[in-house]
């Protein structure tokens, strides 16, 4: 069974440009999460989808970040316009359907974003 995949693996852009990150969850997983690790800091939650609906977006830093999950399958995270402080690793995770809080989240390899 394929794990969580993310594209691209790396992205280098200039300040002010737009970048779109993609996440494909494990097949059948309704829950999809975005996290990021800014340089030298903890991995921080960004948002959580249940199918195509945003369940919790309390971690989104500002309105330059837009996440979508049309059709409840893959998700995209767009940063527009990118700023220097957005540099870091963006992780996606998925877990099985259902409201069980203890459900294990499986993570993708991350996208390394560098804003110059």
């Amino acid at each position: 069974e394929a794990g969580v995949t993310q594209f691209p693996s790396h992205s280098v852009i200039e300040k002010g440009q737009t970048v779109t990150l993609r996440c494909d969850p494990i097949s059948g997983h309704d829950n999809l999460y975005w996290y990021r690790r800014v340089m030298g800091k903890e991995i921080k939650f960004l948002l959580h989808f249940v199918k195509e609906s945003k369940q919790d977006e309390s971690g989104m830093p500002n309105n330059r970040f837009l996440a979508e999950r049309t059709g409840g399958t893959y998700s995209t995270l767009k940063v527009q316009p990118a700023e220097l402080e957005d540099s870091g690793v963006y992780f996606c995770a998925s877990s099985q359907e259902g409201p069980r809080v203890e459900e294990t989240q499986y993570f993708g390899p991350g996208t390394r974003l560098l804003v110059l």
Partner: protein, 114 residues
């Protein structure tokens, strides 16, 4: 507020040594869940273990073992007879009873030298 502390930023050991990675957590939830993930050089976060707060039984899986102590709010991870392939960053994480998102510790970078 929930918090996870991993006081060891980096650890270096020689192959075949045992090593313990510390994790201390804070939460007001009476039911919560603790996790360990491994991040090898390839970058992905690999799930290692989940422990429920109501189950304090320690667990052993091959060379890995976990010691959960509610009295000290700790969930330490021990690797016995370490190998070079164990070199990675290890994250401890906490999930409360009312939220689906994790609170991660800062990670401990383990280097196992041949």
């Amino acid at each position: 507020a929930q918090k996870v502390t991993q006081a060891q930023t980096e650890i270096s050991v020689v192959e075949k040594e045992d090593v313990t990675l510390d994790c201390v957590y804070e939460t007001r939830d009476t039911t919560y869940y603790l996790f360990w993930y491994k991040q090898p050089p390839s970058g992905e976060l690999v799930f290692l273990i989940r422990r429920n707060s109501f189950d304090e039984q320690n667990e052993i899986s091959g060379r890995y073992s976990w010691n959960f102590q509610k009295s000290t709010s700790s969930f330490n991870f021990t690797i016995t007879a370490s190998q070079v392939v164990d070199s990675a960053v290890y994250f401890c994480a906490l999930k409360g009873n009312y939220g689906q998102n994790f609170v991660f510790g800062p990670g401990t970078r383990l280097s196992v030298l041949p």
